[in-house]
Assembly symmetry: C2
Homo-oligomer: 751 residues x 2
Amino acid sequence: DGGGVESLDYEVIENFAYREEQAQRGTGLAAVFINIAVENFAGWKFSMTFDIIQKSYIAGFFVYVLINLALVYSSVYIITQFAPAAAGSGIPEIKGYLNGVDTHGILLFRTLIGKIFGSIGSVGGGLALGKEGPLVHTGACIASLLGQGHLAVAIFAAKVAKIVVGVAIFAAKIAKNWQSELANHTDCRFIASVPLKLCLLFLGGSTKYHLNSRWFQVFKSDRDRRDLVTCGCAAGVAAAFRAPVGGVLFALEEVTSWWRSQLMWRVFFTSAVVAVVVRAAMGWCKSGKCGHFGSGGFIIWDISDGQEDYSFAELFPMAIIGVIGGLLGALFNQLTLYITTWRRNHLHKKGNRVKIIEACLVSILTSSISFGLPLLKKCSPCPDSDPASGIECPRPPGMYGNYVNFFCSKDKEYNDLATIFFNTQDDAIRNLFSAKTINEYSSQSLLTFLVMFYALAVVTFGTAVPAGQFVPGIMIGSTYGRLVGMFVVKYYRKLNIEEGTYALLGAASFLGGSMRMTVSLCVIMVEISNNLKFLPLIMLVLLISKAVGDAFNEGIYEEQAQLRGIPLLESRPKYEMRNMTAKEACGSGRVVSFPRVVKVSDVLSILRSNKHNGFPVIDHTRSGEPLVIGLVLRSHLLVILQSKVDFQHSPLPSDSRGGGRSIRHDSSEFAKPVSSKGIRIDDIHLSSDDLEMYIDLAPFLNPSPYIVPEDMSLTKVYNLFRQLGLRHLFVVPRPSRVLGLITRKDLLIED
Amino acid sequence: DGGGVESLDYEVIENFAYREEQAQRGTGLAAVFINIAVENFAGWKFSMTFDIIQKSYIAGFFVYVLINLALVYSSVYIITQFAPAAAGSGIPEIKGYLNGVDTHGILLFRTLIGKIFGSIGSVGGGLALGKEGPLVHTGACIASLLGQGHLAVAIFAAKVAKIVVGVAIFAAKIAKNWQSELANHTDCRFIASVPLKLCLLFLGGSTKYHLNSRWFQVFKSDRDRRDLVTCGCAAGVAAAFRAPVGGVLFALEEVTSWWRSQLMWRVFFTSAVVAVVVRAAMGWCKSGKCGHFGSGGFIIWDISDGQEDYSFAELFPMAIIGVIGGLLGALFNQLTLYITTWRRNHLHKKGNRVKIIEACLVSILTSSISFGLPLLKKCSPCPDSDPASGIECPRPPGMYGNYVNFFCSKDKEYNDLATIFFNTQDDAIRNLFSAKTINEYSSQSLLTFLVMFYALAVVTFGTAVPAGQFVPGIMIGSTYGRLVGMFVVKYYRKLNIEEGTYALLGAASFLGGSMRMTVSLCVIMVEISNNLKFLPLIMLVLLISKAVGDAFNEGIYEEQAQLRGIPLLESRPKYEMRNMTAKEACGSGRVVSFPRVVKVSDVLSILRSNKHNGFPVIDHTRSGEPLVIGLVLRSHLLVILQSKVDFQHSPLPSDSRGGGRSIRHDSSEFAKPVSSKGIRIDDIHLSSDDLEMYIDLAPFLNPSPYIVPEDMSLTKVYNLFRQLGLRHLFVVPRPSRVLGLITRKDLLIED
Ligand SMILES: Nc1ncnc2c1ncn2[C@@H]1O[C@H](COP(=O)(O)OP(=O)(O)OP(=O)(O)O)[C@@H](O)[C@H]1O
Ligand SMILES: Nc1ncnc2c1ncn2[C@@H]1O[C@H](COP(=O)(O)OP(=O)(O)OP(=O)(O)O)[C@@H](O)[C@H]1O
Ligand SMILES: [Mg+2]
Ligand SMILES: [Mg+2]
């Protein structure tokens, strides 16, 4: 049954509980406020990358392998033992969440913690994966948790975070002594999550009518959480790439399924604050407090000093890059699909031990290749460059810049493979994007790197560690992009061409070919490279690579979602649905329904007899005709059964006492907990007296679920279901009368 | 009744006509293809700005005033006599169209022509208005016309366009002889509309299931047109600002009401092609074929060589700019609202003559002020600058650059007011944004310009000419922005500050305060200025100005829409709707309905007796109970009445002959013409024999309109109506049975 996947309920249930909520305005104000002040812990992201350069290469190799292994082991251990939902990138799950299906545990606190520390391990451990996907998931988790307003959780988290940071710093210092040079590459981006709190504040504040009621309201329903999670995703991307507009567009294009125009403004607000805060963090880092991080600036891979202009002759090689990107991207999706399927069916079934061993083996393999291959490569002599250009050659390894000296015998030599392979991912990409370094790389080195890294990325994908696909994608893409760039430089001699430009386009093309995003990728690429002049080129390349990729398979997130059993509803109905009616779709099985007043024992037996989550409630009119009075949810029935306060002795409706009813239940009892199964039916224990009593369901039902006539075509039903984000829809007989028509005029009510 | 406003019908009507359409795949392939090849004419935009500098200032003044007057007169004449729907910016109307209401004539061919030539006149005539709004409207018109595939129209248009261009060029040459210097500032952007055709091609092609059927399909329903118009808007902005991503976001944030994720990709595609084509046009223009235009480049107002960095101390004056923007923007909206209301109620009622006189008076006023005020201003001495900086002072007027010599007695002097006031808008903005020109403007000149231009912009708004608010907004905003910048330069002496940066922020803030867009404005501002580093600042300023503006009134487009009686449905329901039910909303009036088989005379009399546009059709089951079998539209009934082929003698349903029925009607007969009233009831003439016959409505009705139970709250009804873009909704009694439940599982049909 979908493996722990369950639908979310975005419907506004207009029963008493909802109306109570409306009345309890302004409560919890103080609680959320303190919450906000404390939850600074969140979103921490350390990518501790150990640039090891030894006097003894063999000892260095072992240290390198072991440190990587230790980091990866810690990551996979955390994931397997503590937070299984934190494995992978998390974007397919978040996409599913926003499409209306809940993957178990995806937004829990432990998942957040697992994700943060797991990706420190996996990225720090040098695996061929990135941290951007996990950051999106992290953002969504934080947003969702903030929405719950659990003060205790926040305080606990802050404490845990402090301890863990302490341990991490201690470990880093020890590692420093071990190695000749160690730079702990602290990202400082954790500050970037502060704005999420502001988003939360804002989510309430900007709407006209709710200025008082929602400002500090605690978000309890799936519907409220949906907006917060969208905000969180945007904040994640904005913080990861320092690309605020890209974050907004990513949330809009890739993750959300329902977009309301108010959301634009809120998501934008979150991103804007993220941008300002990231900028502040950058300023702070410039003073050297963040180790290697300082020189990054607000733009990650700035190429604004690169190629000035481009000519039409270049469009052809660029189109080729687009095609390559489409092909390699589609191949990547297909290979990872096969491997992940195989892993699920054979490897991961055998338990956590196998997962741990697998991750460790991948780590050793990755370390060996990235350390060993550059050793085999012969060094190249440094180019003759005037010192005014500011390019130094060779540079000591473990520092910014190109022309790394690694295992070179002569003085004026550098190792081009080490420059990209034996380096942090950020630096490797910066080196690949770099301008004014024509002919730095031999095509042989680039090809070697491309093949090896591609293979590693495919193998690494799907191991039980948090893993993003953005950075590996950029690595792969920029490598073949630069390769093409080398040929262009060779053949179009007269043009002023930088290989780095082609590397950028290559990166865009691979991401486009694999993820199939367009606008958001385009904006993200521009924002990370700070060169608006290439916008049309990036667009062109993305269009081609997406079109080529679409010819083969679906985007990586859709494929992964399918694989994980997350049933995403696409935005458009399938073609076959035109010829089906609603009645045909819901099958011919008997509808399981409840009468208005129902015996407790009947409720229990009906709930046990099936797995449905919603049931129609049927009453009778005075004249004895049946009448559908609403929909009751399994989860609400379970709450009623557990609390027992609504049981009554009489089998008659309790209309007369309706006033008192609402007092018996706190509205929060019906509030659905985030990503948890809620009460299970086996947890309910009722005495035989209880079983003989009755429940009047009237106050608990959703009195007006959406309905469709039986012969409406499934296309229209689909649109209704998908656009409104429903969970249940009643198929009813054709009506016998029309009581009125609603047109635009009826809905134009003036304030 | 809303003044010619009528709802659009986005519903898929699943009757025979629709199913026929499905069968007639691939027809019209050739037609659309030729259409595409020929419709090159569209989107032309000349802003012929006459930079007049005379030896005799008095003669010059008269020439200047007269040329402006002639241009404005031609514009207002075209609008009043030929295309009244082309007045104003058109964005509120397009917004309304995409929200589901049709303003009469808004997408007609004559409106397109009127818009293009009208805005040539109004912008060329030096009025305080812009051409960007009209370009958006133009884009939408072209898209909609392309969607109709009328070959004849296209060929005719191409011919008309050629002739008019010829005349325009001829006129320009004559004007050249008249004046000492004339530069016809041809925009070349007309080429930018080529991609619209490609968008059209693409609109069909990318969807999986329709690869054959829709590739060259002619777009006939409101639903198809909706996507095309959205595409057109994005293309308009992309071409106007050379801001492709900004175009996508503008379409998304400001104009559309329904956003489907496929649309993103299509709109993006259109914009991408626009970007590439604009780039091509720029390259072509560089060789000097477009007069003044060549030096523009792909970025309109490039400030990438400006300020490098900013410090936190600057955030305070920037916040102040945001506040000023919010205040002035809101004031602008309020003033224009009053003036437009007054115009509508007093001035424009009196007929076209008054409109023409009004526009001419405004033109004379504008010309006099922009020529006269700089004359009164004393010239300033040129700054001492090293020649290496490339800044020349003074420059001859009518050319690019700052430090214009206008009515200066000495040699080394310039007139700072003339530099911005007596100049084309593009150049004025470039001068305001310019870096390395600190202290070019005296605060007195800037203030004078600000006050005068603001007043002119308010007065000009609402005259019967095509008018955009973007460029005037940028002018106003950058003026006070630069003013604030001057103070900042004065008080924060140590910082490396450029006044131009503040001008850019000022422009953003005014647009934000008036139009209340966020993401799209932000991206547009970055794209026109090519400085990504200021993105966080622009975001900040926009957030503040929008928030401040929202405290006073609504955005300018919403206010104008309201004023013009375009009933926009906001994206969220009003708060009062929570306590209303569907039944209450649609009132207690008797529902006007039809039986299945109805007498022709009854149809006529019912249609005459009311103004409703949709009617339920009621049949009877075998057992004699009534049954609602669908909804029939007034427009379809009128088609049936006019064609008469469906009349029958028998008052019985014509089930047996159902097969033959579909042949009688070409599906195109029911296709709704764009923006036209269709058949009027008075046009139908029936003989008395005809009146005695019957019509079986069954084949013509929409068999399954959406239904809501009578006691559903209006909030939910609103969501359904708004999200699905409906026109009619049946309110029905509560159902007596539930035949089935539709859940996510039922909708997950595999191919
Ligand atoms: N009360 C009911 N009576 C009869 N059939 C039902 C009822 N509720 C659902 N069904 C049918 O049972 C099937 C699965 O129902 P189920 O309630 O598990 O929904 P689901 O798609 O799995 O979504 P969810 O995630 O909410 O469980 C569907 O085909 C649906 O038509
Ligand atoms: N067939 C009908 N019988 C009775 N009342 C109707 C009928 N159709 C519409 N109405 C009511 O008449 C009012 C106006 O109807 P009308 O059909 O003019 O719609 P509208 O809102 O103006 O939209 P449109 O632009 O489609 O005309 C609405 O309040 C609606 O409830
Ligand atoms: Mg289920
Ligand atoms: Mg009407």
